[in-house]
């Protein structure tokens, strides 16, 4: 479990520049076994946040708790020991070029004083786990980006951590490698029961692997929760970031309706009522529906023509009573 309580991080002024408030009163809880994501625009404080969890960066105020231990209260050498139970994976892998894949995986074990035979056994086991059992003697320079990140994941898991931190772990990878690495992360979480915190600026990554997510903006958590719940909320800024709303074109005649699709409020019911029962002309003007966190989620923009407006309003009210999420899109704010 990871818990940040009212964490502030202020970087002191450098030269004549102003001081930078990178995190401004952040509360965050990641339950044991959850795969959590942090998203946000560039400069919002994502990297700072994840680096606080293993105290690579110390908070200016607030507490950091991992698995019930308040790291911010521990003396330096105990923080160091606590770090070995927190694995970390980086955007640029940060493997040691002077070491083979196996020796890289053994690196944290060496630091922990694990004996040679045990290290060998463990690195073999972990390279097998990440699918690189046959590349144990390869140097990082001989591996592809995706393979390097797999070695880095094996290294992060070597000391049997309970928590895994991923700082933009797929941002330097192509699409295929990204998919592979994400599947691997998800699989090790399931098999080892890890708590994973991943930061990324790629919404697709969050949708692919996370159970929960928070949206960070200018150092504050502005939205968050379990993905299925977040996506079911029509007005959530995080949902808007994850499933960008289709752009409404008001130059074409007709009434635009926005439908938020979830498993419990499928678009089929809306269509049945509008087309089937009221006999209206309905076309899909934009949007998408995808499977996220095991459920169907999306936003659709429908264009209705030939409707009598008061009749349409009654139908929409009825639909909302049925549990559907549908509303008119005002001409100005088409979100």
């Amino acid at each position: 479990m990871i818990e940040l309580n009212d964490v502030r991080k202020v970087f002191p002024a450098r030269g004549r520049g102003p001081e930078v408030v990178a995190l401004d009163g952040v509360d965050l809880t990641v339950r044991a076994g959850d795969f959590a994501g942090v998203v946000g625009p560039s400069g919002s404080g994502k990297s700072t946040l994840i680096r606080l969890v293993n105290l690579l960066e110390r908070p200016t105020s607030g507490t950091v708790t991992v698995d019930g231990r308040v790291l911010t209260d521990l003396p330096a050498d105990e923080v160091r020991r606590a770090r070995s139970s927190i694995g970390m994976v980086f955007q640029h892998f940060e493997l040691m070029d002077s070491r083979t894949a196996a020796a890289n995986v053994e690196h944290p074990l060496e630091l922990a004083g694990v004996g040679r035979a045990e290290r060998r056994r463990r690195s073999g086991e972990l390279l097998d786990l990440v699918g690189l059992g046959d590349r144990a003697q390869a140097r990082p320079a001989q591996l592809s980006g995706g393979q390097k990140q797999r070695v880095a994941i094996a290294r992060a898991l070597a000391a049997r951590p309970t928590v895994l931190l991923c700082d933009e772990a797929t941002s330097a990878l192509d699409q295929a490698s990204t998919t592979g690495v994400l599947e691997l992360l998800r699989r090790v979480r399931d098999e080892l029961g890890l708590t994973v915190l991943l930061i990324t600026h790629e919404m697709a990554v969050v949708k692919a692997v996370c159970d929960t997510a928070v949206l960070l903006e200018a150092g504050r958590v502005v939205d968050g929760g379990r993905l299925d719940q977040v996506l079911a909320r029509g007005d959530s800024p995080l949902a808007a970031a994850l499933l960008p709303a289709p752009v409404a074109d008001h130059r074409v005649a007709g009434t635009l309706l926005r439908v938020t699709v979830t498993d419990t409020a499928p678009e089929t019911h809306v269509l049945q009522v509008l087309v089937g029962r009221l006999g209206l002309d309905v076309e899909v003007a934009g949007g998408s529906v995808e499977t996220v966190a095991g459920g169907r989620h999306g936003r659709l923009l429908l264009r209705v023509t030939g409707a009598d407006q008061s009749g349409l309003d009654r139908a929409l009210a009825q639909l909302r009573d049925d549990g559907s999420r549908v509303e008119r899109v005002a001409a100005e704010v088409a979100r």
Partner: protein
């Protein structure tokens, strides 16, 4: 050319003296220069163990050592040489100023090499729970090794040139030989021969160092 049989053994001795001075000075320089370079690096601002005052003092000493012309340094360290070796004359005595001159030189090169190691790798090790000395031992030094070898090669070549100067003031070796037999006896051929010999030694060292560094970098 009738005197070659007289000169050849002396040339051999001189070469031996040069190699002896340079070899011993190299070993001591590496033993002192690398730790000093590490200390310079880790005490720097934003580094592993920032110590602004110590960093500045070390930096000053290193710059002092590097800015003094070697010939002046030779004279300045004479008391130290006498204290350590008992005399200021001879190849063994020459090792002292050679080392004093080369240590700051190597330390700066070491600092440059270690700074090239990305901070990301250092952080990766810290995130694994590494102590600072673990970071030096398992990250900075091994990752910078090819560059450290290259820097040491440059230092050894500089030591050979210093050793020729040290020779001139009583340290023996090829520099001394060139002056006594070549310059003072107007034997340009002997001077040139000595220069050629030094060139061969430097070339061989540089080639060896480059090959080693390249092999390490290709790992």
């Amino acid at each position: 050319m009738s005197d070659w049989s007289r000169i050849a053994p002396q040339l051999l001795d001189a070469t031996g003296e040069t190699l002896y001075m340079v070899a011993v000075a190299t070993v001591i320089t590496v033993l002192l220069g690398i730790p000093l370079g590490v200390l310079l690096t880790v005490t720097g601002p934003g580094a592993l163990a920032p110590r602004p005052v110590l960093h500045r003092v070390l930096g000053l000493l290193v710059n002092l050592g590097r800015s003094l012309p070697f010939i002046i340094l030779l004279v300045l360290v004479a008391p130290l040489t006498r204290g350590l070796v008992g005399t200021t004359i001879g190849s063994t005595a020459a090792i002292v100023p050679l080392t004093v001159g080369a240590v700051p030189f190597l330390a700066r090169l070491v600092e440059t090499s270690l700074r090239e190691v990305s901070h990301g790798k250092v952080e990766a090790a810290l995130a694994m729970g590494a102590r600072r000395r673990d970071v030096v031992r398992t990250v900075l030094l091994p990752e910078a090794l090819p560059s450290l070898v290259a820097g040491t090669t440059v230092t050894v070549v500089a030591l050979i040139s210093y050793s020729a100067m040290a020779g001139a003031i009583g340290g023996g070796g090829l520099g001394d030989f060139a002056i006594r037999f070549g310059y003072q006896q107007f034997r340009t051929d002997i001077t040139l021969l000595t220069v050629a010999l030094l060139l061969v030694v430097v070339q061989a060292l540089q080639f060896g160092g480059d090959t080693w560094a390249r092999r390490l970098a290709r790992r």
